[in-house]
């Protein structure tokens, strides 16, 4: 079974920015992603205690390298200033590259 190289983009951000991110993904024609709620600490302090709106969420997206650049650029341009957010990219191997 051959593994094909693609990119995994992981975004950890406050839960209220999740919608914005998914919209950006949609704009770039990406409809596959995985999300889950997490707690966290960072420049904007402890998050995840108390109100649900104060939680963080992780959004993970497997995508081809071609799309990565634009998406990362748009996220950083529109969201970095106002939201608690951290983003990183890693290399992963998948079986069915046509899915992404």
């Amino acid at each position: 079974m051959k593994l094909y190289n693609v990119k995994l983009l992981t975004i950890t951000c406050e839960i209220l920015a999740q919608e914005n991110i998914i919209e950006i993904l949609k704009k770039h024609e990406i409809t596959g992603y995985t999300t889950y709620e997490v707690d966290g600490n960072g420049a904007r302090g402890l998050r995840g205690q108390g109100l649900k709106t104060e939680k963080n969420v992780k959004v993970e997206v497997i995508m081809r390298e071609e799309k990565l650049q634009d998406i990362v650029e748009e996220i950083s341009r529109t969201l970095f200033a106002n939201y608690a957010i951290v983003l990183y990219v890693s290399d992963v191997g998948v079986l069915r590259p046509e899915k992404f």
Binding site: L16, Q49, L51, N82
Partner: protein
């Protein structure tokens, strides 16, 4: 003094005591917390109970008389929101975004406030007009929509000014204006379909349909357990307020004063006006409490999207950490005393004079 006694009596009810307890638990860094699923469920439950109760009352008493108080409430809310903005921007020197966010947080209404108010009245053996639950539902999104509209107008104006100086960048600006419009219509949709309004309106309608008899089989859950459920919710609210007490330093003296004076002022106006409109003792208290309340559950969800440039630490902390405790401990008994006084013989006469002179 009567008010002090009432404040003291109110202070010693389970609702207030468990709220204070939650604050203390947070301050001593206890690991006590109500699991998220419970504290997410409780507001839904409370709103359903409020709505059912309101709907059943409306069926009993009719809702013909509801329209005038409703429109007056809307008018007052909008006026207050604009007033807050002026105070915050001019006197408080807050930036545009924080000013609008705070203005609408205090122009908006709080469902938890409302729950505590209902329980307080129940305890005093006083009832209130059922349609005030409907006013709660209508007011909920109002101040936000106004604030967002105003913010977007202001931003658009700024952009236009820029446009005139650098006339080459026009496409980007048009995009910006379009985005603003999209955002406004999205926030509008989100507000109206927000879970709080939806469950509240739905329950009012259902309460109206089923009436007292249909309510009987679910009365134990949606009425008898109401105060107990608030108590549990107040523990969590106390914990969250307690965790935010440190942030009060960031809030500053001006906003702290604002967070205490404005609710008292708005609440007093609310009681006076609603009494003049003919609402009952309890109804005027609830009307005043709505005016006095600030939103700390709906606000972050709406404002974070709509005015992301505003600092949530300001509006959440002041609403939940200062105004809410102050309102349920101090403002509520004051409004009750005021309303009782106005509705008693002498008060009514005074008010009559006050009103006739006032207009």
């Amino acid at each position: 003094m009567e008010i002090l006694e009432l404040i003291q009596a109110n202070l010693l009810t389970p609702i207030i005591l468990f709220f204070l307890f939650g604050i203390i638990a947070a301050r001593i860094k206890s690991d006590l917390k109500i699991p998220a699923a419970i504290s997410e469920f409780l507001p839904i439950y409370l709103l359903a109970a409020i709505g059912l109760h309101g709907g059943i009352e409306m069926r009993n008493t009719g809702f013909e008389n509801m329209l005038i108080p409703m429109f007056v409430a809307i008018g007052l809310s909008l006026l207050f929101t604009l007033n807050h903005y002026q105070i915050l921007r001019r006197l408080g020197k807050f930036n545009l975004f924080d000013s609008y966010a705070l203005a609408s947080t205090y122009g908006a209404v709080g469902a938890v406030h409302f729950s505590v108010g209902l329980s307080f009245l129940k305890n005093q053996g006083v009832s209130s007009e059922g349609y005030i639950a409907a006013i709660l539902a209508v007011l909920e999104p109002l101040a936000f929509i106004l604030a967002i509209f105003m913010t977007n107008m202001a931003v658009a104006k700024q952009i236009k000014t820029k446009k005139q100086s650098f006339s080459d960048d026009s496409t980007e600006i048009d995009i910006g204006l379009n985005q603003t419009k999209t955002k406004l219509s999205k926030v509008l949709h989100e507000s109206i379909t927000g879970k709080a309004i939806v469950i509240l309106l739905g329950s009012i309608v259902i309460g109206y349909i089923i009436g007292k008899d249909g309510f009987e089989p679910i009365k134990i859950v949606f009425d008898d357990m109401f105060t107990g459920a608030i108590v549990i919710f107040m523990i969590e609210m106390g914990i969250i307020a307690g965790q935010r007490l440190d942030d009060i330093k960031k809030v500053g003296v001006f906003l702290t004063a604002f967070a205490i004076i404005i609710p008292l002022f708005n609440g007093t106006i609310g009681v006076l006006v609603s009494t003049a409109l003919g609402l009952s003792v309890g109804g005027a208290v609830m009307f005043g409490l709505l005016m006095a309340s600030a939103s700390f559950i709906a606000a972050p969800a709406v404002l974070r999207h709509a005015i992301p440039q505003a600092k949530p630490s300001l509006y959440i902390t002041s609403a939940l950490g200062i105004t809410f405790p102050f309102n349920i401990i101090v403002t509520l008994p004051i409004l009750f005393t005021l309303s009782t006084f106005l509705h008693s013989g002498e008060g009514a006469i005074d008010l009559f004079n006050f009103i006739t002179e006032g207009f």
